[in-house]
Subunit: 331 residues, 2 copies
C-alpha cells in the first residue's frame, strides 16, 4: 500500500464536494468567476482581520457540507490548520461545529496535508466522510509575519502577496467523482535561504523533492499528468522548481502550473504572485476541481508547498525549512 513515501489508496476516496471563498482582490482574477463566494469587503462584516479569516474558513466548511447535501451529522471529522499563531482560524472555526477536529500544520502546504490525511482516514475505513480545509488573509498575515499595514512598508520585488481566501473539500467513500489515488508525504528541505521575502526560492526545493519522489514511487513521468500543480511558489519559485526538476532528469515544464502564479489578474503589481495557505486552497477548490469535474483535466498531481519559518526562527538567524505534501487525483 506504500512505496517509497507514497501511500496508494485502493478504495480510492472521492472528492464529494468542494468550496472556496475569496477576497476582493482575488475576485478580480481568474478565481473570481469560479469561487462560490467572492467578497467585496475583506473584513467580511467582522471587527478584525483574524475574525474575518476565521469566518471565511467557516463559510468554506459550511459550503462543502451544503454543496454535498450533507450536514454535520454526516461528517466524521474536520482536518484544518492555518498560518496564524496556534492555528486559531482553524480552531475557532472548529468550535462552531459538532465535529471531531484534527489540527494540522504545514504552512501553505496545509491544504494538501489535510486532504492527504482525510483520504488516509477515509480509505482505511476509519471515517466515512472528512472535510479538509484551510485559508489565509492578507492583512492578518502581514501584521503577524511582517509589518503593520499602517506602516506602509515597501515590498521588495521578490515578494508575494498573501491570498485572502479559504477553501476546502469533503472527502468520502463513494463510487463517483474525482478520485484520490495516492499521496506522497513530504520531507523537510532546507537549502539555506534566509530571505523571508523570497518564499518561492525557499520552497521550490521542497516542491521538486516531493514531485520527483512521487514520480519515482509511482513509476510515472510528468507527461502522464495533465497538470502538476504547486501551491504558491510564485513566478520566481516556479522557474526554480522547473530547473531543479530538470536537473534531476524530470522535465515538468509542460504540465507545471502554480496557484500563486495564476491567482491574480495583473501579476506585476503583486510581484511574484500569490502566497499563503489560502492561495492553493481557493485555486484547487474552485478552478482546478471544477475543470476536473468537467473532464478538462483527467489526472493531476497537487503539491502545495509550505515554508515552516516563524518570526522567531528568522529573528534568531535561522534559514527557512520547507515542505511539500502531494496528492494525486484522477477523474
Amino acid at each position: 500500500m506504500k512505496k517509497g513515501n507514497t501511500v496508494f489508496f485502493k478504495n480510492k476516496p472521492r472528492v464529494e464536494s468542494f468550496a472556496a471563498v475569496c477576497g476582493s482582490k482575488e475576485k478580480e482574477g481568474i478565481i473570481g468567476q469560479y469561487a462560490d463566494i467572492a467578497l467585496d469587503d475583506d473584513m467580511y462584516g467582522e471587527s478584525t482581520f483574524e475574525k474575518a479569516e476565521c469566518k471565511m474558513l467557516t463559510t468554506a466548511i459550511s459550503q462543502c457540507m451544503e454543496k454535498g447535501g450533507k450536514s454535520e451529522k454526516d461528517v466524521d471529522v474536520l482536518l484544518s490548520g492555518d498560518l496564524l499563531n496556534q492555528i486559531i482560524s482553524a480552531s475557532f472555526a472548529a468550535r462552531d461545529y459538532d465535529l471531531p477536529f484534527l489540527g494540522v500544520y504545514s504552512a501553505c502546504s496545509t491544504m494538501s496535508e489535510s486532504i492527504m490525511l482525510a483520504a488516509m482516514l477515509v480509505n482505511a475505513g476509519y471515517v466515512k466522510r472528512a472535510i479538509a480545509a484551510t485559508g489565509s488573509h492578507f492583512a492578518s498575515a502581514e501584521r503577524q509575519y511582517r509589518y503593520p499595514l499602517e506602516l506602509g512598508c515597501t515590498r521588495p520585488p521578490q515578494s508575494q502577496w498573501t491570498v485572502t481566501g479559504a477553501g476546502g473539500c469533503m472527502i468520502a467513500a463513494k463510487d463517483e467523482g474525482v478520485k484520490i489515488v495516492s499521496a506522497t508525504m513530504g520531507k523537510v528541505c532546507d537549502y539555506g535561504v534566509t530571505d523571508v521575502n523570497n518564499m518561492g526560492a525557499a520552497m521550490a526545493p521542497a516542491a521538486a523533492d516531493t514531485i520527483i519522489q512521487h514520480l519515482k514511487d509511482t513509476g510515472t513521468q510528468p507527461s502522464d499528468y495533465d497538470m502538476i500543480l504547486t501551491g504558491d511558489l510564485g513566478a520566481l519559485g516556479s522557474r526554480i522548481v522547473k530547473d531543479l526538476s530538470w536537473e534531476k532528469g524530470y522535465d515538468i515544464s509542460k504540465v507545471h502550473v502554480d496557484c500563486g502564479e495564476i491567482v491574480y489578474k495583473v501579476i506585476e503589481s503583486e510581484f511574484q504572485g500569490g502566497s499563503g495557505a489560502g492561495c492553493s486552497a481557493i485555486v484547487f477548490n474552485s478552478y482546478v476541481l471544477k475543470k476536473m469535474q468537467a473532464g478538462l483535466y483527467k489526472r493531476i498531481l497537487f503539491a502545495a508547498t509550505g515554508a515552516l519559518l516563524s518570526t522567531v526562527s528568522s529573528g534568531q538567524g535561522e534559514s527557512i525549512p520547507c515542505i511539500s505534501h502531494a496528492v494525486e487525483l484522477e477523474l
Copy 2:
C-alpha cells in the same frame, strides 16, 4: 472500525520504544528518575530557549530510534507539533531527519493527537513504523504567551508552570509490547473561560467530553481502566474534570491521574502544577509507559488536553476553545 468518535485498531499497533528528556526543575520531581535524559541546564548548550526546546525534541526522537534499535531508514514518518508559533520546534527538528514529516497541532493535546494519527497510519498498513513526539520549554512559552522572564511578573494562584521537556514514542506493527487499542477524536469545547492563567478550568470540559465519549463508544466504565490519564489540567482542572464527569454519571475519581499534578515535586510552588505539550509527553513517555511495561498498569486511557488560544485571540476578547484527544492502551 469506528463507533461514535472512536476508531478501533484491529491490528493493534504497538509502542516499540519511547523516550523522554526533561529539564532541571522536572528532574527534581518523580519524572527525574524515569526520564532518559534529565538536564542540569535548561539551555541544553544552545544560545536561545527556542533552540534548546528544539534540541530536546530532536534528542527525544533520536532516543526513540536508538532505544528501539532502529535508524532513520526503518522509520516511515514523523508526526510532531509544539506550542511555539508555526510549530518551529517540530519543523526544525524534522529538518534533521531524512523522514517524511506530518505537522500536527492541538496545543498540549499534541502528544495524544500525534500518537492517535501514528496508530491510524500503522494500523491501516500505510506505514510500518511512525514516531510521534512533542515538547515544550518553560522559558520559550513564557515569553511567547505571557511576559519576558526578565520582567519578574507575579504568577496568580490559578496558574500552571510550563514543563521543560520533550517526549516521544515509536509506534510499529509488531506482535509484542504495549498495544494501542483505540483512539477517540476530540471535539472543540468552549465553556467561555477567558482567564488565560486558568488553563485547567478552560480545558477540563474538553477532557470530560472526550473521556465520556470514549467510555460510551467502547461501552466501558472508569473502573475498567487502571488509569485515566489527563495531560495538564493541574490541581484545579483535575477537580473540575472529576466533577463534570460525575455529573454526567461517570465517576472517574478513583482512576484519574493528571500529568500536570504529578510532574513536580512540591506542587505548591508551581501553584496548580505543570502544563505545556511537554508535560504529558515526558510523564507518558517515561513513568507511565515504563509502569505499563512492568505490568503495574494493564489498561489506561491517555487523554491529553489542549487550549487552542493564541495571544491574538485572547487580545481580541475571545474565550479559550479546548480539545482533548484520547488513546487507549493495553498491555
